[in-house]
């Protein structure tokens, strides 16, 4: 496996900066150098967004946890409450699991409006019911004004995996096809459109949605041909494909013209100097499937409301450098890389 030179984290005087939470390589380094070091075990080492483990009573369970610190709290197409349910349900579903139970931990800043809190909790409850999961335990903390940004929510979730299903980020093989369930970048652009100092008019709504129903369709259609699934959240499709390439020890070749991107999303990214492939999604997934099942799987996905724009965007290839290469609309080639730190608008 190729190594590139990495400067070690400066544990003596270094500090966490925003790039460590942006879903790019800096965050991967932080997790690897601090958390994996401290917690190290074989389940964590698999590097998935959830862990799958056998239960003493037989069968396999899946567990995940996530924190939600989105700003603004209410955004076009959703809010932090429904997002917290969707994100956690999706992390479970990506292992092919049936999500069952969630926890909800609220950290609330002193002065936060009770009406907003009620609205968030109601939205969270509605999202859980719609996804067929129950929020069965929780925790509430209030911190002094200035020590949080309104409200933060942490969730954990558990689910069960059907017998015989073993999906993991290390299972992509050269020749496998890469499928996305729909258009890229909707959530990130919806969030940015309502950020302070950056307000612009767009009809784009967040794609925040629970994907467990679509996953059932995929698992049932693809059966043993299905290698893995992952939801391309922070860091967008680019980060997800780079993660998977490293986990599976392959490269990917994708075709720019095949990747569904809404015109409004492309326009907003153009305006801000961002790449839609780096922009977050909250209701989309990437599936890697054996080539012979790809067309059939796309057809099946398109029968589900959350998969109508599903498309084959490329394939896994042998590549010890784990490059994600893209054929541009021009017919040229380029890499689709991880973000270096946060995606930042350019000056000019």
């Amino acid at each position: 496996m190729t190594k590139t030179f990495r400067r070690k984290l400066d544990l003596k005087s270094g500090r966490v900066d925003m790039s460590h939470g942006a879903g790019g390589r800096a965050m991967a380094e932080l997790i690897s150098s601090i958390f994996k070091d401290a917690f190290g075990n074989e389940l964590l080492e698999q590097g998935n967004d959830q862990a799958s483990f056998p239960t003493p009573a037989g069968g396999r369970m899946v567990m995940t946890t996530d924190g939600y610190v989105v700003s603004p709290i209410f955004f076009p197409g959703g809010d932090i409450g429904s997002l917290a349910v969707h994100g956690t349900v999706n992390d479970l579903a990506m292992a092919g699991a049936k999500p069952l139970y969630l926890s909800a931990s609220y950290i609330i800043e002193e002065g936060f409006p009770l009406g907003d809190l009620k609205r968030i909790a109601d939205s969270m409850g509605a999202a859980a019911r719609a996804a067929g999961v129950m929020i069965i335990t929780g925790d509430t903390k209030v911190v002094e004004r200035g020590k949080a940004d309104g409200v933060f929510i942490s969730t954990a979730g558990v689910g069960v995996v059907p017998d015989g299903l073993a999906l993991s980020g290390d299972r992509a093989r050269p020749g496998d096809k890469l499928i996305v369930s729909g258009s890229m970048g909707d959530h990130g652009v919806a969030i940015m459109s309502s950020r302070e100092n950056l307000t612009f008019e767009t009809e784009i709504l967040s794609d925040s949605a629970a994907l467990n129903g679509l996953v059932e369709t995929i698992v049932s259609a693809a059966g043993p041909h299905l290698r893995l699934m992952r939801d391309p959240t922070r860091g967008g499709l680019a980060a997800t494909l780079n993660e998977l390439a490293h986990q599976s020890d392959v490269g990917f070749r994708i075709v720019e013209d095949q990747i569904p991107i809404k015109r409004q999303v492309a326009a907003a990214c153009e305006l801000l100097g961002l790449d839609p492939l780096n922009v977050a999604n909250e209701g989309k997934l990437v599936a890697v499937v054996a080539a012979e099942a790809a067309e059939m799987l796309v057809a099946a996905m398109r029968t589900h409301p959350l998969g109508v724009d599903a498309a084959i965007i490329g394939e896994a290839v042998e590549d010890d450098q784990h490059f994600v290469q893209m054929t541009t609309g021009f017919g040229g080639g380029r890499i689709v890389d991880w973000l270096a730190g946060e995606q930042l608008p350019r000056i000019c």
Binding site: T2, K3, T4, F5, R6, R7, D10, R15, V16, D17, M18, S19, R25, A26, E29, N197, L198, D257, R263, A266, A267, E270, D275, Q321, F323, Q325, T327, T328, G329, F330, G331, G332, G333, R334, I335, D337, A340, G341, E342, L344, P345, R346, I347, C348
Partner: protein, 384 residues
């Protein structure tokens, strides 16, 4: 997208590529510099390199304001931001630029300094209005494109009577830097500079027009084509340059007729003349001290000049001696020729100017094109 898709049409790109291939002469090479990082970005992002004949070589110039800002000026900004009364407002892509002592604005922010990312100079004005008890400093940077907005911010602050707003001015000039590249004497260990034409930045020319580039055509016999930033614009400009080279012409031509006027934008030019004057000399990363290559506030606006309000005296800071940015910016070496490239120097850990912003030559090659020069564990495996 109207007015965008038309300039990203793959079929048109292949047509222009075929026209370039038909016109280049197989017995010679064409070394063309795209001065501006925006063009570098477009070339890399759309894989234009793959569509060009092998003997058309694009050289990535120093036209990225983030890349060429010397370490000492970032140090100044960090010192400013550390002052308890100061809120420093900066364009976002300056945040990660490495300063002395392993610092950056992002790290200074993490350590407690009040540093805000802004999307326009007027955002800084709004922050100053909303925080009358803070000294708000706008970290102004950029070529001729971003200079007028800084002047507008100053005039707005003046009109509003804002007492807590000032500008840390780092605006630099395109034609002067192009001239500095051409005037640079060869060194024993670097090949001579062989630039046969320039792709000129259209956004700069929307302000300054065409005239400032005549010197390159007239005195240096180098053709210049002012080009837009869409990939088809760049390709068409390359075709125009190839034709000029073949015809042994050296003219300043305008590919970007949809926005650039010969005279530029007289209102913006006048405003900038009112607010700014030339610095005697300014340090550029990769180019060294270049006389009359940057702007400062005129004395009449000294009140808004952060360098005077906070008595800033820039201390020189050395770049890594192994860094080849200078030769890369001058077109004498390619990113992968630098032994720091992809080892010590990556976008996460930039050492030199060209890796600092996504528009730099090395960052663009790393982010979009490094599959052309693959790496091995031991370091770079150079491929032709």
């Amino acid at each position: 997208m109207k007015y965008v898709d038309e300039y990203r049409d793959g079929d048109r790109a292949r047509d222009i590529a075929a026209a370039i291939a038909a016109e280049v002469r197989p017995d010679r090479s064409y070394a063309l510099m795209e001065f501006c990082g925006g063009h570098t970005h477009a070339i890399s992002r759309y894989g234009i390199e793959d569509l060009l004949p092998k003997n058309v070589r694009m050289i990535h110039g120093p036209g990225c304001p983030v890349c060429v800002l010397p370490i000492g000026r970032i140090d100044d900004a960090i010192r400013l931001a550390k002052r308890p009364e100061v809120t420093l407002c900066t364009y976002a892509d300056l945040m990660r630029v490495p300063a002395s002592g392993g610092l950056s604005l992002m790290k200074a922010k993490a350590a407690g300094s009040d540093i805000r990312m802004v999307y326009s100079s007027l955002d800084a004005i709004r922050i100053a209005e909303a925080n009358p008890d803070r000294q708000v400093v706008f970290f102004a940077i950029g070529f001729e494109t971003t200079t007028p907005p800084t002047a507008v911010a100053l005039k707005t602050a003046e009109a509003k009577g804002l007492m807590n707003f000032s500008i840390f001015c780092n605006h630099v000039l395109t034609p002067v830097a192009m001239r500095a590249i051409l005037d640079m004497p060869p060194t024993p260990d670097e090949p001579p500079i062989a630039i046969e034409g320039f792709v000129g930045p259209s956004h700069v020319s929307t302000i300054i027009g065409m005239e400032p580039y005549q010197v390159f055509a007239r005195d240096y016999r180098k053709p210049v084509v002012i080009a837009g930033f869409e990939p088809l614009d760049v390709m068409y400009a390359i075709l125009m340059l190839v034709r000029q080279v073949n015809e042994q012409r050296a003219d300043v031509e305008n590919q970007y007729i949809r926005a650039v006027r010969t005279e530029g934008n007289p209102v913006a030019i006048e405003l900038c003349d009112e607010v700014f004057e030339l610095r005697e000399s300014f340090e550029w990363r990769g180019l060294g001290a270049v006389p009359k290559s940057a702007l400062k506030l005129r004395d009449a606006f000294a009140f808004y000049d952060a360098e005077k309000r906070f008595t800033i005296e820039t201390q020189p800071a050395e770049d890594n001696p192994a860094c080849e940015c200078g030769a890369i910016l001058r077109g004498q070496k390619k990113p992968a020729d630098c032994r720091l490239f992809g080892t010590v120097c990556t976008p996460e850990t930039p050492t030199g100017a060209c890796m600092v912003s996504s528009e730099g030559a090395c960052a663009a090659h790393w982010t979009y094109g490094r599959f052309r020069t693959r790496q091995s564990d031991a370091g770079l495996r150079r491929t032709a």
